[in-house]
């Protein structure tokens, strides 16, 4: 679901469309919980669910809190919950720099100058970085805007963790019912597509940060 589709959902919601809130829940909220649970393995899953749900309910009550001309709806929720997650988690963690280009390069032999900070154990943590650091806020914003689909973000989170198991990707992509070969092929197609987006993103990242 791209940004325009998400904007359309928001507009439909404003117009009172009867089913769109449920669509937002299924297409954006549920995948977002998966993304955040992977990014914040230290935070109890229930707590993440509660925070995301509070954000969702707030949106349902006051949809004008979201500016459709700004970030995508999924990123709005992610940013909204990010601050709460940061509070929940605290700021006492050490962080290590890791380059996702190494991960990308390993899998597709293509250098990408896109760097993200990650916390211990190579767990990527977009949201906290957004809050803590302007550099990461901008960098994360670029990445998330390029991949507005929460499912894509969940796949990216797995990719950044170095997950190689097709089953985990299939689970995120909701294609576990497909025959093994089709499943592999579909996972590969999605990974290739996401890597392509990241490749395209590299010049923007360089321009935005290396040229400072």
């Amino acid at each position: 679901m791209d940004r325009d589709e998400q904007r359309a959902l928001h507009e439909q919601y404003l117009s009172g469309h009867p089913t769109v809130a449920a669509v937002i829940f299924e297409k954006i909220i549920e995948p977002l919980v998966v993304v955040l649970a992977r990014q914040y393995p230290e935070i109890p899953h229930d707590e993440i669910e509660d925070l995301v749900m509070a954000s969702f309910l707030h949106y349902l009550e006051a949809p004008s809190s979201y500016d459709p001309h700004g970030r995508s709806l999924s990123n709005y929720f992610m940013m909204d919950v990010g601050g709460d997650l940061k509070n929940a988690f605290g700021s006492a963690r050490r962080r290590h720099e890791v380059s996702i280009d190494a991960l990308i390069e390993k899998s597709m032999n293509n250098h990408v100058e896109l760097r993200l900070l990650a916390r211990n154990n190579n767990q990527e943590d977009f949201t906290e970085q957004i809050v803590n650091d302007e550099y990461h806020r901008q960098l994360t914003s670029i990445v998330l805007e390029a991949l507005p689909n929460p499912t894509d973000q969940a796949v990216l989170a797995l990719l950044l963790q170095g997950v190689r198991d097709t089953g985990e990707y299939a689970d995120i992509l909701c294609i576990t019912d497909l025959p093994v070969e089709e499943r592999r092929s579909e996972v590969k197609r999605n990974l290739d597509r996401i890597k392509k987006v990241l490749r395209r993103l590299a010049p923007q990242v360089r321009m935005g940060f290396d040229g400072e």
């Binding site: 009172g16 469309h17 009867p18 089913t19 809130a21 449920a22 829940f25 299924e26 909220i29 549920e30 995948p31 919980v33 998966v34 229930d46 669910e49 509660d50 995301v52 749900m53 969702f56 309910l57 349902l60 009550e61 689970d171 995120i172 909701c174």
Partner: protein
């Protein structure tokens, strides 16, 4: 990607949001002293009512098509859905304004008194 707990808290959360089917059914269940599951059974809802409860009530100016959209999306019987919504509307109309209830009671009492006078 269905997450049972998340769906459950979505169902609970939307119960307090006016304008949602979840809220309508929660109020109806409370007033009629039945469980939400009873009402869902009445609608012929499947195992997971999340879709239905997260739907907004049909808009007045497109009531029929909205009902159809909701029924198709949530897998419920449209006629039964309309019946429940109408039932909830009636109950809300009376329960939300104490004055109306008082007025009705007063009118009923006056009628009773008049009847008694006629009898004597």
């Amino acid at each position: 990607m269905a997450n049972k707990r998340l769906r459950k808290i979505a169902q609970q959360g939307v119960a307090s949001l006016p304008g949602f089917i979840g809220n309508v059914l929660a109020r109806l269940a409370e007033v009629e002293s039945v469980s939400l599951d009873t009402l869902l059974d009445e609608l012929g809802n499947q195992d997971d009512p999340t879709r239905l409860l997260l739907c907004r009530i049909p808009r007045a100016d497109s009531f029929a098509s909205d009902v159809k959209t909701i029924a198709t999306y949530a897998g419920v019987d449209p006629i039964r859905l309309v019946n429940l919504i109408r039932r909830a509307e009636v109950i809300t109309a009376f329960s939300s304004t104490g004055e109306r209830q008082d007025g009705l009671l007063l009118a009923a009492r006056e009628n009773e008194e008049e009847d008694e006078q006629h009898e004597t």
